[in-house]
Symmetry: C2
Subunit: 128 residues, 2 copies
DNA sequence: GGAGAAAACCTAATAACTTAGGTTATTGTG
DNA sequence: CACAATAACCTAAGTTATTAGGTTTTCTCC
């Protein structure tokens, strides 16, 4: 039970909580089903179960519960990369670049992100 | 039915097929459960169901079936990124860099991968 | 050809996921 | 106070996932 993965709907809810921050059942419901494709109660049940499983936690706010994700998107993604690529970030990126059309602007941004990460790493390479 | 996601075990099996190439039930079983934690029949059933769902396909080879994945790892990953990050590759990478310790060697390799992708995209243009 | 092994095929039970209806408690309003 | 609204709580039904035991088929070897 240590690390069961979130199922489809669970992931959907986690994503909403990641994007929107701590939310009430109502708020999550509105995000998931703005046109009522899903009952309020359904979302409520899902959240309660996820609470039991430790995927989210809640806090009373007056008489309503405010739910927050327990796992960060970072960790969740990391687990996925481990699962799909044995942890190889390189492989993941190669894979993504080959499967989707990435704009030059995005590539450029990526380049910057990487080089920034390298700079952050380099200067402290003396300590050991 | 168009795009249901593979569940835990299914993903595990897909990964084996991606890594090892087309395999028989026995081969998959040995990969998944070298010490018999899972029955042969279990793996066989999983593969048959995945076949029904179109996640894998099979081919007779003598009297045994050889299974191959129908979806590429690339596509599967792509779908996941869409789900978690609304398709933003940048966000994904930022996220991963923050959640794991990436070696400088790996970062360097990443840089090369990306700059190669850029070149492929705009052969006529110059880098900065 | 028959015995044994290995494979596919059939079946089923349990657990987990997904959905939502009904019930109860709280609170704000006329 | 009574009533409507809103929220949590309880329950359950239908579906999918996970697991594996039997059964039948097919091959191989003596």
């Amino acid at each position: 039970m240590t690390d069961r993965n979130p199922s489809g709907r669970e992931l959907e809810i986690l994503k909403i909580l990641w994007d929107a921050g701590p939310s009430t059942v109502r708020q999550v419901h509105e995000q998931m089903a703005p046109d009522g494709e899903l009952a309020f109660n359904t979302v409520q049940t899902l959240l309660r179960i996820m609470d039991d499983k430790g995927l989210v936690e809640h806090q009373r706010e007056g008489r309503t519960f405010v739910y927050s994700p327990r796992r960060t998107r970072e960790n969740e993604t990391s687990r996925l990369v481990d699962k799909m690529f044995d942890g190889s970030l390189d492989q993941l990126v190669v894979s993504l670049l080959s499967s989707r059309n990435v704009s030059d602007a995005e590539l450029k941004k990526l380049e910057q992100i990487i080089s920034a990460a390298r700079k952050r790493k380099e200067p402290s390479r003396k300590g050991k």
